[in-house]
Amino acid sequence: MQAQPKTEGGILFEERVGQETSSRRDPRKDVDASTKPSYVVVGVLCRVFPPLMGEVCECIDSLPGMESFSLGERGRVGVLIEAGSFDQAHQRLQEELLQVEGVQAAWPISTQWE
């Protein structure tokens, strides 16, 4: 199979390491205070390497909190990411969805929460 670049919103996906650094003024630690949802759902538009559409969907559906849905178009698939927090949803996008072989780009189109 031809190697495909992994992209997020069009960018190469790479491992991003590092711990939270303390901020000089540190007002950001409580940035979540106003919005602490218990349920987050993100609708994602994925660009997928066309020959691998079937395998990609199967793999996405096997991941916890993720579900693919057809958009009726070769090379594109919709994905719902459900999570308990924004952090978890973002983590699933970056560390799980974009790791699936054949997923070239993932565009979070809609974020809803409660």
Partner: protein, 771 residues
């Protein structure tokens, strides 16, 4: 079966994705069943100008999604945009005016803060003259805000000390457009992406800085096997993943590559002789003056830039240059560039050479054929460039140097004749230098963070904040605490984005309306209201004429209407963009001189550009599709013969590495907004320096080692990231972190382009050591 709330949220999310994929609006039943009302608006990050839909519940912004009805961005937004609701409602928004008293910020009333500002500005103007005050604005301010500030300072106070952060990002593009075509701003549009077969991406990490544009290029390439991408960038940024040819010149030496491409095009007779004969002229600067040469003179000039010679200068293999030139000439070619060309001491020249390639191949003004500078801010184009809010220009293509233009604006503004000075004010770097010398005694800074974003930062932070006798008085309007607000004497809390109405003008000349949907926090107010009050205070104190602003402009709509009239009969004419129309439509591209004009996809093209049909530039002798560069001298665009000179600070034995700065996907500029979303912050929680493995080995560095980066101006301490992305001898640092150790602009150089006055952020010499 009854649908529970989570099912509803799931369905809504799926519908949003499907609507983007299909390019249709969401089913109305989905919208109707929501507690949320949806409103169209525009993203306030980069200059792509993505159309967004904002979900509002109880006057709070609770959701954002791409607007599938938007004609160019078609529902796509990037990760940054989706976090805007959280950023708007972040708890550390500035909520009250603050005045520095005895070294500490103390909450003050609006009356107290504004009175102090009025007194200090008026006092300075009376004692030291109009040029003792200055305004430093932003490509993130709304168009009406920039226009009004410009009007107050240039036409009211009588100083041209009006600048803004687009001087740091787009000034060289302005210089390139003006010197080649006679007027600023791209002639093409995003629709050209759907027609191009070759994309030339130069000094542009489109994938991370303009991700929605990059997706459109990616989609076009995936759908068409014959679409090819040439990337010119010394760093293997994510765009190189789709490059068919990657040209990686030593930073600062790419001008030779562009000339060599022209050399190949000419030698292989791939140029468009007819287009050149009708539309172009050739010029070289000798003894400080432009001199006309003929095509043969240009060919002779190019002889010194054979691909082989360019390889010696730039390090790019000659064969790659030849291949790139052939692809470019085959076209249809669309060229995109950003800071890699602009943030240079040869920035204008580099821009000229982009235009040269399009002009000699006749690839301009036709579908898929255009040079196109991408913009980093949402309103650098519409807000600062178009409204003339820089020290040398006036609204809508006018210049402070031209008496006719000054008289026109004085009449429109109702200013006393002679108020606008003919001499340009101080450019950004000189303005902050003057501040450091206490020559500028009061400065108003709006929606920008020069305490982090200026190059060679240390002296300019001192200029703004260091206690000393006669220290200038600094007022900062912003939405969050920043590295600039900490230097201020007065901080005014500003309304942000969806809390205020106005217009953003993005890279393809599309003006888009943003409604006010959310209540600002605390006592925060729209910048425009603050500026109107500021003008009123100066009127009361007699330093601008009574009624100059207050008798004519009371609302944002008043300002917009005056702007429309100021554009009339200029190359920008947008008289047809009434407020009502902008509220209904998904933006309109200027020129749009009448209310029934749909806007202009391609400028300078008869049949598309209404400026060629009516007004001072009308020409009935042209046929449909003919091109006329009506703003250029003799109606001919200029192919410039620019020497391929290198950067201001080449490497040497003491400082052997080239430092370049840039951005990452998740963060935007100084991180003032994006660092407020923890998800984005966590993606890149700390600064890093990219170092090539070859250099790392030489220096004994490993991943995550702390590196001391030292230039002749300052140093930063940043963790190493060993990667093959930068070429050997080059290091790269994004500039979005604000902690003191990571302030990479303490290291960058403030040498600037003599034409555009834009500093060379992209290139300076540094040494590296394990800390």
């Amino acid at each position: 079966m009854a649908m529970n709330r989570r099912d509803f949220l799931r369905t809504s999310a799926m519908a949003a994705v499907a609507s983007v994929a299909e390019g249709k609006a969401l089913a109305s039943s989905t919208l109707e069943s929501s507690e949320v009302t949806w409103h169209k608006s525009v993203c306030r990050f980069c200059g792509t100008g993505c159309g967004v839909m904002l979900g509002i519940r109880d006057k709070k912004l609770v959701a954002l999604r791409g607007d599938p009805k938007h004609p160019t961005t078609k529902g796509l937004v990037c990760a940054k945009s989706l976090f805007l609701p959280k950023i708007v409602h972040a708890p550390d928004r500035l909520k009250h005016p603050m005045i520095r008293k005895n070294g500490k910020f103390v909450q003050a009333s609006w009356d107290e803060a504004m009175k102090l500002i009025g007194d200090r500005f008026a006092d300075s103007i009376r004692k030291h003259g109009p040029d003792s005050v200055a305004y430093y604005g932003s490509g993130q301010a709304l168009s009406e805000e920039s226009y009004l500030a410009n009007r107050i300072f240039k036409g009211g106070i009588g100083t041209n000390n009006v600048e803004g952060n687009p001087r740091l990002c787009m000034a060289s593009a302005v210089g390139g457009y003006v010197s080649t075509f006679g007027k600023d701003e791209p002639m093409g549009c995003y629709d050209d992406i759907d027609h191009a077969k070759v994309f030339f991406l130069v000094g542009s990490n489109t994938a991370e800085c303009h991700p929605v544009i990059f997706d459109q290029i990616l989609a076009r390439k995936e759908a068409h096997n014959d679409v090819l991408v040439i990337v010119c960038d010394p760093r293997k940024s994510p765009v190189t993943s789709i490059a068919d040819i990657h040209l990686d010149p030593v930073p600062g030496y790419d001008l030779a590559v562009f000339h060599a491409m022209a050399h190949v095009i000419v030698k292989e007779k791939k140029y468009d002789a007819d287009f050149i004969a009708k539309q172009c002229q050739f010029k070289i600067v000798e003894n400080g003056r432009p001199k006309k040469v003929d095509f043969e003179g240009y060919v002779k000039f190019l002889d010194q830039y054979s691909p082989e010679q360019a390889e010696l200068i730039s390090g790019v293999p000659a064969q790659k240059i030849v291949e790139a030139a052939r692809l470019f000439a085959n076209g249809p070619t669309m060229t995109f560039w950003t800071m890699g060309l602009n943030q240079r001491t040869r920035g204008v020249w580099a821009n000229n050479l982009m235009h040269n390639l399009h002009l000699i191949t006749g690839q301009i003004g036709k579908p898929g054929m255009t040079p196109f500078s991408l913009t980093g801010q949402p309103n650098a184009c519409g807000g600062v460039r178009d409204t003339g809010s820089l020290c040398h220009i006036l609204p809508y293509g006018r210049s402070v140097k031209k008496a006719k233009h000054r008289a026109e604006m004085e009449k429109i503004w109702g200013a006393k004749p002679g108020t606008i000075k003919p001499k340009p004010g101080k450019n950004t770097i000189e303005m902050f230098r003057a501040l450091g010398r206490n020559e500028i005694k009061a400065m108003l800074i709006l929606t920008t963070n020069p305490g982090q974003s200026l190059p060679n930062l240390t002296p300019y932070r001192d200029a703004m904040g260091k206690a000393r006798p006669g220290k200038p008085f600094i007022v900062v309007l912003d939405i969050f605490p920043t590295r600039t607000t900490e230097l201020a004497d007065v901080i005014l809390p500003a309304a942000m984005w969806s809390e205020k109405l106005g217009v953003f003008g993005m890279s393809e000349r599309r003006y888009q309306y943003q409604p006010a949907l959310v209540t600002p926090p605390g006592e925060a107010r729209p910048d425009l209201e603050i500026l109107l009050d500021f003008a009123g205070l100066l009127e009361e104190r007699g330093v601008i004429p009574k009624g100059y602003v207050s008798s004519k402009l009371k609302t944002c709509d008043d300002v917009w209407n005056e702007m429309r009239h100021a554009s009339k009969n200029t190359a920008y004419d947008f008289m047809g963009m009434t407020r009502d129309r902008l509220k209904k439509e998904r933006g309109i591209r200027w020129p749009a001189p009448t209310i029934d004009h749909p806007g202009t996809a391609r400028r300078f093209v008869k049949g598309e550009d209404p400026i060629l049909d009516h007004g001072p530039y009308a020409d009935d002798s042209l046929n449909e599709g003919d091109i006329k560069f009506y703003a250029a001298k003799d109606y001919r665009a200029t192919v410039w013969l620019r020497p391929a000179l290198g950067p201001a600070e080449p490497v040497d034995k003491e400082y052997p590495y080239i430092l370049s700065t840039g951005r990452v996907l998740e963060h935007w500029h100084t991180g003032t907004m994006t660092m407020r979303a923890p998800e984005l912050k966590r993606a890149y929680p700390e600064a890093y320096i990219e170092i090539n493995p070859v250099d790392a080995k030489k220096l004994g560095l490993r991943n995550r080692d702390m590196v001391r980066i030292t230039s002749r101006r300052g140093e930063a301490l940043i963790k190493a990231r060993i990667t093959g992305m930068p070429r050997v001898g080059m290091v790269f640092v994004p500039w979005c972190w604000e902690d003191t150790n990571s302030l990479i602009n303490r290291v960058t150089i403030d040498a600037y382009d003599p034409g555009s006055k834009q500093p060379e952020f992209k290139i300076c010499a540094v040494k590296l050591a394990k800390a």
